[in-house]
């Protein structure tokens, strides 16, 4: 080969590039993998499931194969009242998140507790499983950990879903899929910056808040407010509904696109939504020809907009 005059140069090039990759890839990864998962990270990965964005479980990003987060107010097996708690329901064949499949991403304390006390290694995808997040102690220090309630308490996914009911089921896993697919993150970041942001938009995320979540969808361009804690400052489903259908209904100066198409063909009563008539009436309202804007149709409980609103309100 005729690179022989350039032998030294080629070797130097290899050395330089390897050194650069050692510093920028290998060295940071020692720091990053040394970070243990926080309770937030456990909640996020159990809420969002294995991967948001494209995967062969959900190639068209329809929100399939995602877990559901439920608020339990009674014991799902006995029906006895108990202190309310969140559980994460993975119905049969729902892929488990990284923390269950590769517990090493959780960090030592969380991993040991999750395996020994939480029995996460007993969880099997074909039958599904129900997980909860618990507090435990490892080598004298407190850690959060994942408990496989199907193994420890015998909770079955279907029974937990039934016990919670639709009103207490949060489709935030499917909702994050909508968030990624609809490109919300092109304008709304999920990362408050090192500015007075922390006072307006809430505290910054911690080092261990991301273990097991993919993609993190931080976003890079802020054409709109940060959403990391949006559910804490606005928890109104009605406001969200109006705002997603047409942001100008609640914020006349907004440049956010309308997401009315996420309602689908029919509304909550099963009636066909007449989008053309709605838009016509809205233009009349905007032109001052009518006093009130047209009513926004109520969404179906299995519509994509429900997923997205659940995701947004779940960002606490």
């Amino acid at each position: 080969m005729a690179f022989r005059e350039y032998k030294i140069g080629s070797v130097m090039f290899g050395v330089a590039l390897s050194l650069s990759m050692a510093i920028t890839l290998v060295m940071p990864s020692y720091n990053i993998i040394a970070v243990g998962a926080t309770a937030t990270a456990l909640d996020k990965q159990l809420t969002y499931g294995q991967v948001s964005g494209f995967s062969f479980h959900d190639p068209f990003l329809k929100g399939e194969g995602k877990p559901k987060k439920v608020l339990l107010k009674q014991d799902p097996m006995t029906g006895a009242p108990m202190e309310s708690m969140y559980a994460y329901v993975f119905s049969a064949d729902t892929p488990f998140p990284s923390g269950i499949l590769h517990p090493q991403v959780l960090g030592k304390g969380v991993r040991e507790l999750s395996i020994e006390q939480g029995k996460i290694n007993d969880a099997l995808t074909p039958g599904g499983a129900v997980f909860v997040v618990k507090e435990g102690e490892f080598e004298g220090k407190p850690y959060p950990y994942i408990e496989n309630a199907t193994a420890t308490k015998g909770w079955k996914p279907d029974e937990v879903l039934k016990s919670a009911g639709d009103a207490n089921t949060i489709y935030a896993g499917a909702g994050k899929q909508m968030f990624v697919r609809e490109g919300c993150w092109w304008c709304h970041t999920l990362l408050p910056e090192q500015t007075q942001d922390f006072q307006v938009f809430g505290p910054p995320p911690l080092l261990g808040d991301f273990n097991g979540e993919s993609p993190t969808a931080f976003g890079s361009d802020r054409k709109a407010p940060d959403l990391l804690h949006v559910g804490s400052r606005n928890s109104s489903k009605e406001w969200m509904m109006l705002h997603f259908f047409n942001p100008r209904l609640v914020q006349p100066h907004s440049i956010m696109p309308r997401f009315d198409y996420l309602w689908g063909e029919t509304d909550a009563n099963g009636d066909k939504i007449n989008y053309d008539a709605w838009r016509k009436a809205y233009i009349e309202y905007r032109n001052g020809e009518r006093v009130m804007p047209p009513d926004v149709p109520a969404y179906r409980s299995d519509s994509e907009i429900r997923y997205l609103i659940d995701f947004v309100l779940n960002l606490k």
């Binding site: 990864s29 294995q50 964005g53 068209f60 090192q194 993609p215 100066h253």
Partner: protein, 469 residues
Amino acid sequence: MLQKYLFAKNEDIPAGTSSIFFAFSAIVWFVIGTGLGTFNAAKLGFPDWITGYQMFAFGKMRQVHVMAVIFGWISMAFASAMMYITPALGNTKLWSEKLGVWSCLNWNIGLAVGLITMWMGMTSGREYSDFIYPIDLIFLFFVLIPVSLNVWMTIAHRRTQGIYTTNWFFAASSFMFIIVLLVGNLPEYFHLTGLTEAYLTWWNAHNILGLWITPVAAAIAYYTIPKITGNPLYSHRIGHLHFWSIVIFYSTPAAHHLMSAPLPEWLKSFASVEGVLILVPAIAFVSNILLTMQGKWNMFVENIETRFTVTGVLLAIPLNMQGGFQQTRSINWYIHGTGWIVAHAHLALLGFSTFIEVAAVYYGMQTLMKRKLYSLALANFHFWMLLIGFSIYWISMTIAGLIQGAGKIYEVPYIDIVVAEHPYMIARWFGGTLVFLGNCVWLYNMYMTARVGTPLPAGRMAHELAYER
């Protein structure tokens, strides 16, 4: 046209065929990419303009514009330049025209499939690696590696003793681009999560810019300016400095894109310092090209290819002054995530690298097709549309970014920022539209050059002939 060459013997394919196909594909993708860009800008300026269609939602189209421009226009124009400059500098023929023609076909098909699937909503949710990973792998193995192999083998079979600066960059950048795409998409192949995913996303994004787009654009200027002006390169030593500082300094500051993320602090500080050191290759490159122009500055006015290239090089000055310092903690704190960054990205891609590539395509197509440019008037019109359109875009987005930054720091309610930057959103749409219209004219001009351009006599360069129109 293309199928004639796909199954021909390699010896029967005329020299320059693959370069010509790449160039015309690149121009078409440029028209498509800037068209999508101006449509997106209109959606931001006039949010109620087209509604109710999932397909035309801003969030579905934004990344299609970015990827069409990076992988369609910029990278294909690079491939076109590589396919004719590499053999010219080795005093030889392209290693395989047939492989070049096939990679051009694969590239167009792969990119079309990738953009359509992404437009349908199939995305990885990772900026600058938005394509789903099967598309990334197809691009890597059926497009990028064949193109790179062609470059490397042409250099290996050269008939000159040394390797000229441009070809170091071509060989090294195509190699580094392969590594970057392989490593940058690891989170998608192996389901890496958390900060690893976030960091690798920006490692990939940074290095596509730093190890592929910036050095290859510079390498093209190292060819076109000495070739067209007839001046030898001012200094090969400065070229050495440029090359080695790109490899060392430009490959390391990826973390400066995530200054507000909870990454290791040493990594952010290191990235920030290395980011300032990007000024070393930048100053080396700009000074080398501008000093090469000594005594031939009349060509900056008189010659369209020189004017495009030198304008691109001059735009590299504000680009690198911004790039070197905006990623330091104090400045990043103010402008991160604002329109300033959008303006900076367009300065790099639509300013610096596009102007240099446009020149490479103008020059290469006239040389390879042995035809004089159809119309100088249309080429001048194209230049001014690009420059004025880009300037309007860049200035308006920079102002919008400063407004956003101030709003961010002083805790202005967000909607007031939206109201304040709205006029600049409309200005950006107007600037982008000028660029799009200029490119439509360019496509027509190049098509007419291929059809009815004045034939070049053997041994003469295009700019030595007077224009007929």
